[in-house]
Each structure stands twice: as structure tokens, then as C-alpha cells.
């Protein structure tokens, strides 16, 4: 790695569980989160799309409304299922994750109000469907705003996820926009967007193919087979485009993260996708589509699982050497911390055996000299004045130092020193009150 790579030290507390366990949890939890994020984003886009078609063919408006009702549920699940991967990333990649967050800090924290706003708009869009029947364009505008925000949000997450992989870039980043220019961010964005569309198309099929769903009653004027085919078409189109976006991601990622396991995982993922796409093609030819849904869904789930695993393997390999160096530095630093602490303890013991006047002088330098001088007023009165007041009353002097009162109206309050030991106080009294300055 270049000499311009920072090597921070890790937090010197053990991981709360064996690392492999945490990693498996991370991959599973992340997958679940991603599924609902995809459904939320894709659903929001589909809602807008069908509502727009509904302007001309009103039957589509009802379809849009049906999809809108699922978006709010999916968004709630996306958020709560996001907490576990967040926690796991925090614990497994503490240094990388927090560094990326800091470097894009403003955008990162703005995610909170932005997502909140997106959710509020989504609810508004859904609950005002009836009330705004006669203001269709305005209503559609609300939906477009919500979708627009949903489209912006992933940029921040992806910029951070990418930045985590490249410690050698950290010194060159200046804010969120410059993080966007890290080569693989944009390809990853399109990769993610296409995945959302693909998943949502399939979800559309899954939702409307159900026997118990009374299609004609809910969506008069539409044809079930046709809607299923539209869903399949979306999935097929998005998946085919992935054959462009995927390689683009690969070529923009630095090669030091590639490993046989990672390439194998991605390769198997592609292999699982091919028969799925072929099955979708067959469904599109069939007069009664929907029969092969389970197989298609299974194969594509396998693809996603393998892709997410591949992504994780890339991250592991890319960071392996950096992590290793970091561990060595952490251990070395902790050794130094221990040695210095032991030294300090020994010095403290030596101090305790110091003669009183010297201990007093030292304590004074460390605690009082900031505000008190020998003859002149600093923040508090000079030592000469102390001698005048307490010359023959060391006990009162000690009492004042431990909990000072408020005496002189034109002086600020003196702080208390409850942390001084009896011996230190004794030393102070000897030093201050016998001084002939």
C-alpha cells in the first residue's frame, strides 16, 4: 500500500463473539435489510410509474394505489432490519466505518431528516389518494418527490461503503461530493438500482399471482396475466442490464481485493441467474404465466446470496493486509500504554514518600499556580495574603482548599479540590504558610 495510507489503531476491547459468527450474522442481516430496501425503492418507483399511466388509463391508478400500500410496510421493515447490520458493521469494521462516516459527515447526518421526509411524503401520498382524486397531478407530484428522495439516499450509503474499502484514499477525500468520485461508486449505484427494479418486478408477480387475491374485484379493467407479464418483463430487463453494470463494478474496483473465493462466489451467482432468466422468458411466452414463480424466485435468491457473499469476500481480502497492520499497531500501542501506566504508578509511590515541603511545592505547582502567584494577584489572591489570613490556622486553610467559600465580591469562585490526599493538603499547608516570599 502507498505510504499515504493511515493506519489507525483498533479499539482495544475484544469482539463480543467469534468473528466468523458475526460475519455470518452480518451477511444474513444485511440481505434481509437489502430485500426490503429494494422493495421500498422499487415499489415507490412502480407506484409513480403506474399512477402516471393511470392518468390516461384510469384502471392503472388502482394498481398504483395497491402498490403504494405495500411501500409503507416495506419501508418500516427496511428501517428496523437495518439496525442489525448497522450494529454488526459497527462492531466488525469500527475503524473503517466511522472513518468513512466522518469524512462524509454532513451528508451522513443529513440522511436522518432526508429519510424522515421521504417517509412522511410516502404516507402523505398513500393517505391522500382518495382526498386528492381531483388533483391528480399534484398528487403524482408528491409521489415523485418521495421517489426522488429514495433515489438520492443510496448515494450516501454507497459512498461510505466504498470509502471503507480504500484506506489509501482517505487522505484525498474532502467531503461527500469528493467521495462520490471514488471510481466504483457510480457503477455500484446502478447495480443497486437495477437490483431494486428486478426484485420489485418479481414481487409484483408474487403479489398478484396469488389465488386468494381477487384480482377482478380489486383491479377492474386490468388483466391479471398482463400485469404478471409486466412484472416479469421488468425483472428480465433489469437483470439483463446487470450484465453490463456488474462487470463495470468489477473493473472499477482495485484488483487487490479479488480472490478465487470471491470470483467463484460471483461466478456461481451468475450461473444461478441464467436458468432463472430463461424461465422468465418461458413465462413471458406462456398464456398463463405465474407457474414457474417459485423456481425463479429461488434461483434469483440464490444469486443474490452469492453476490452478497462475494461482496463480503471482496471486502475481507481488500482489507486483510490493512487489518493485519492495524492489529500489530494496536498491540504495540497497548504495550506502551501498560508500561507507561506502571511507570506512573511507581512515580506516584515515590512522590508519596517525599518530604512534606517538597510534596507541598509540587502539589502547589500542579494545582494552584494557575491562579495563585507568590506576590501578585492572578485569578486569586497572592500567597502573601494567604499567609496573613491562615498563618497560624493550617486546619482552616485545609478546609478552605477542600471546599472554598465565596469571599471577595470582585473575584470569581475558587474551585474545590476534594481529590487531594490528606498528605498533599498537609504538604500544601507547610509549603504555603511557611513561605517567606
Amino acid at each position: 500500500m502507498s505510504p499515504q495510507t493511515p493506519f489507525p489503531r483498533d479499539i482495544p476491547l475484544p469482539l463480543p463473539a467469534p468473528e466468523p459468527l458475526l460475519i455470518v450474522l452480518l451477511v444474513i442481516a444485511f440481505l434481509a435489510h437489502l430485500l426490503f430496501v429494494n422493495l421500498m425503492l422499487g415499489g415507490s418507483l412502480l407506484t409513480v410509474f403506474y399512477e402516471w399511466r393511470g392518468l390516461r388509463k384510469p384502471a392503472y391508478d388502482e394498481l398504483a394505489h395497491e402498490i403504494a400500500k405495500t411501500v409503507t410496510v416495506n419501508k418500516s421493515l427496511a428501517v428496523v432490519l437495518g439496525v442489525a447490520p448497522l450494529l454488526l458493521i459497527n462492531v466488525l469494521y469500527t475503524i473503517y466505518f466511522y472513518t468513512a462516516n466522518s469524512l462524509t459527515g454532513l451528508a451522513w447526518i443529513m440522511l436522518i431528516p432526508t429519510i424522515t421526509l421521504a417517509f412522511v411524503l410516502t404516507y402523505l401520498h398513500k393517505y391522500s389518494w382518495e382526498a386528492m382524486r381531483h388533483h391528480k397531478r399534484l398528487h403524482l407530484g408528491i409521489g415523485i418527490c418521495a421517489s426522488g428522495l429514495f433515489l438520492l439516499i443510496p448515494f450516501v450509503f454507497l459512498a461510505n461503503a466504498t470509502l471503507m474499502l480504500f484506506p489509501d484514499r482517505w487522505f484525498s477525500i474532502q467531503g461527500f461530493l469528493s467521495a462520490l468520485s471514488v471510481p466504483s461508486v457510480l457503477p455500484r449505484y446502478f447495480h443497486f438500482l437495477l437490483a431494486s427494479l428486478g426484485v420489485s418486478g418479481l414481487a409484483l408477480v408474487g403479489y398478484f399471482r396469488r389465488e386468494q387475491y381477487d384480482f377482478e374485484a380489486h383491479l377492474p379493467g386490468l388483466n391479471r396475466q398482463e400485469i404478471l407479464k409486466q412484472g416479469y418483463t421488468l425483472t428480465l430487463g433489469a437483470s439483463c442490464l446487470q450484465f453490463l453494470a456488474g462487470p463495470l463494478v468489477m473493473v472499477t474496483l482495485p484488483s487487490h481485493g479479488f480472490s478465487a473465493a470471491m470470483l467463484g462466489s460471483i461466478g456461481l451467482g451468475i450461473l444461478a441467474a441464467l436458468p432463472a432468466l430463461w424461465l422468465i422468458w418461458k413465462e413471458l411466452q406462456s398464456p398463463l404465466p405465474g407457474k414457474r414463480f417459485i423456481q425463479i424466485g429461488g434461483l434469483l435468491s440464490l444469486t443474490v446470496l452469492l453476490m452478497v457473499s462475494g461482496r463480503h469476500l471482496y471486502r475481507e481480502t481488500a482489507l486483510a493486509s490493512h487489518k493485519h497492520q492495524m492489529q500489530i499497531r494496536t498491540a504495540s500501542y497497548e504495550r506502551q500504554v501498560q508500561t507507561a501506566a506502571a511507570e506512573a504508578k511507581a512515580a506516584e509511590a515515590a512522590e508519596a514518600s517525599l518530604p512534606l515541603p517538597e510534596l507541598g511545592a509540587k502539589t502547589f505547582q500542579q494545582n494552584c499556580a494557575g491562579c495563585h502567584a507568590a506576590q501578585t494577584k492572578l485569578v486569586g489572591p497572592p500567597m502573601t495574603e494567604m499567609v496573613k489570613i491562615y498563618g497560624s490556622k493550617p486546619a482552616d486553610f485545609k478546609a478552605w482548599v477542600q471546599s472554598p467559600g465565596k469571599k471577595r465580591p470582585d473575584y470569581p469562585q475558587m474551585p474545590a479540590f476534594p481529590q487531594l490526599s490528606e498528605k498533599q493538603l498537609e504538604g500544601l499547608a507547610v509549603y504555603v504558610l511557611n513561605s517567606k516570599h
Binding site: L86, S102, I109, C371, P415
Partner: protein, 484 residues
Amino acid sequence: MEFPLFHLDFLNNRILIAVIAILHVLINHPLAVGGIPLVTLLEWQGSRSGDARWDELAQRIMKTFFLITTTVGALTGVGIWFSTSLVNPVAIGSLIRVFFWAWFTEWLVFVTEVALIMVYFLSWKRSLESPEAKKRHIRWGIILSIASWITMVLIVAILSFMMDPGNWMSQHTLVNGFFNPIYAPQLAFRTTLAMLMAGTVVLSLTGWFCRRDEDLRLKAVSLVSRWSLIWLPLCAIASYWYWQRVPGAMRANLATAVATQAFSNWHEAMLLIMITGLGIVLLLLTAGAMTSPGFRVPRYAAVVPALVLAGCLGSFERVREFIRKPYAIGQYMYSNGIRVQEYPLLQRDGLLAHATYTPVREITSENELQAGQTLFTLTCTRCHTVNGVNSIRVQLNRMYGKQPWEKDKIAQFISTLHTSRSYMPPFPGNARERQALAAYLVSLQTGGQLPGAQSVGIGQLAAPPAYDLNDPDATSDPTQERIP
């Protein structure tokens, strides 16, 4: 030292956390923890009395709660993570290592809670089909109430741990962290307050939801006031218990927490305000409980208790955040993100010798200001800004006035930071660094700005590492030869 530091020089980083966290608590306590049981009570009242208007009222309140908690409530919850990881990454990173399983369990409960809340809210329409369905629905309400309370049980453990780790200092285990001394009183306090606040929030909402049905409004005001009156004395007892247990050193800080140092005496005034506030709540609730057609509380007055309590809870959270100072994790890590244990090393070798992001390692007269700025960023900016809230310039102006500030005086003050103001951590560097920091502070008298890593990055903080990169195992660290 290990992270690029996010810094908002105008707002102050802590305010960011405070705003998000207080908003979250103000939503979570009354609307989730206290709100669900109260809504369930209203629904049960409907099923018991056979008066469908109760059910409708309960449903409308639930819808309000649902919309707020699943948007602002949920996102501010995530926001607490985001903001603390920006403001004090080392502290939150350490807490997560210790409390991972507690948080993970909390997450499982949280998922259950969200699932239940959706079941409860979305199945309301169907529950009207038959008395049996209604009964089942009410049972869901009870289960949901328990789940929301369990999330509180877990999160309070983490909060009270941060104030006082108890036995955890000697044995770093989760269980020790959990049963720390202020856990039970804090849980009691938050639970009772949540119930009380829920009552006052619903009281305010009835004014709106029952605006066309005065008869129902009177009945609802009476019922909800009685609910709140049950919790009020319990809440008072719990707060007293809690106050008793807050460790002594923290209590000494309370005065500055509520107002700033200049207004230390405010502390008592504040207490007076709190007591008066609670008195007003008590009065209004009593009036509410006695509501009848001949004696009604005006709609606007019904909003007052909720506002008063929100104010009290807000101040409580702010005080709680403050009384931890100077620690981020009591006795273990200071608010500047440096562990107590690291101090001897850093005070011996200097902070810059070990910092990851610094422009210099060796301070000279040329790079002194640069070094000073870095030291300020690393050790003071978690609490101070240059120009904004708790501005260091304003503090120094107050101490040293308008005449030119003296570097030596300030350097001397820096060495007694923690003794003169017990809410500040000691300075974690050596004598040369105190001089450099003082020089930088003097330079601020005539102006100056301090941007954070989120806008200028860390490019200018790339001093050659303290370690030899080609030889990771080597002891080429400049300070290493001192090790015997």
C-alpha cells in the same frame, strides 16, 4: 486520535446529539412505552361499556401515534447511532463491543415490536367484526405494550452504564455492566414518566379528536386524568430514588449542567420551576379527574401538562448527558475519547507522537500553531467550538478580558483544567503541547475558524506515521526504545 474528527463549529457537536436524542425520547416515551397501554385501555373501555365512540377515539389516537413513531420516532432512533458515531466514535465503538448482545437482543425485541405494532394497527378494522375478534385485538395491545417496555428495560441498562459502570471496571463483562447501581431507579423513573406523559399527550389530543362530541370529551378527560394521577406520585418517588443514586461527583456538576457556569444559581431556580411545573400538572390533572358537565377544563388548558412534562424530560436528558462529564464512559474513558489508562503514556511522550491524524510529530516554533490547532481539535472540540456554542473564545474572554492574552498563563491553566473545572478532562499531552495549544488559543483572540473533517478532509493531517511501514513488527516507533 484514531478517527478523522467531524466538527460543527457553529452548532457544537453535542447539540446535534442532544437534539436528535431528546426528540427521540420525547416521542418514544409518551407515544410508544406509555401510549400503547393507554390506547389499549381506551379500547378496552369501549368494549366493556359497549360505547363504540371509545373504540373510534382509541383508533384515531393509535393512528397518530403510529404515523409519528414509524417516521420521526424510528429515524431519530437510528439518528442517535449516526450522530454519536460522528461525535464520539471511540466511545460508541467501545460501548458496542461491550453491549453488543444487549443491543442485538434489543433489536430482536424492536423487530417484534414493529411487527406487533403493524398487526395491532392494521388489523383494527377487522377487530370490529365480532366481540371475540375485539378481545383478541385487545390481547395484542397488551402484548405490544409489554414488548415496548422491554426495549426500554434494555436500553436503560446501557444508558445507566454510561453514567456509572459499577463493577464493570474491574471485570469487563456484560452482566456487570447491566446491574450497575443506578439501573433500577432509572428504569423506574423512565417507566412512570412515560406512563404519565402518555396520559398528558392523550389529554391534549382529545381536545382535537372530540371537538364535535363534548360528551365524549368530558368522559375521556376524566378517565385519562385519572390514569395520569395514578402515575404522578409513583413518578415523583422514582425521581427521588434516582436522584439519590446519582454518584456524588456527578451531582456536584449538576448546577452547571442545567444552566452554564455563570448561572450556577439557576440550579435552585430550575428546581423551583420543575416543582412548580409538576404542581401545575397535578392541579390540572386533579381538575381533569373531577370533570363533569358542570365542571370542565378548557381545551387549551388540557395541552399544558404535556408541554410542562416535555420541558421537564428535555431538561432531564440534557442534565443526564452533562453529569457524565468529564467521562464518556464513567472512570474508563473521558469525553475527549481518550481512555484514562492512556494518560500516563500521552502525558509522557505527547499526544501528537501517538496520534494517527496530525500534521506534525515534533513541535517547533514554525509549526506551533498548526500543532496547537490539532491539539485543540483532538482534546477540546468534543465540547468546545471556536465560534459557536460553548465557544472557547468567549470562555477565554470571560477569564482574561480584552487585553492581550498571555500564552504562559493559558498554558498553566490548561494543566489545571480538570482541577479548576471538574467537568473537563485533564489535558492528555505533555508540557510542550500545552504551550502549543496555548499559543493557538492566544491566536484565536483576533479571530479564526475551525472546519471539521467532513468539509476539509484530513489531507493536511498526514504527518509521516510514527511507525515504520516496511517493517510492521519492528520497534521503530520513536518512543519504543524507552520500553525496558
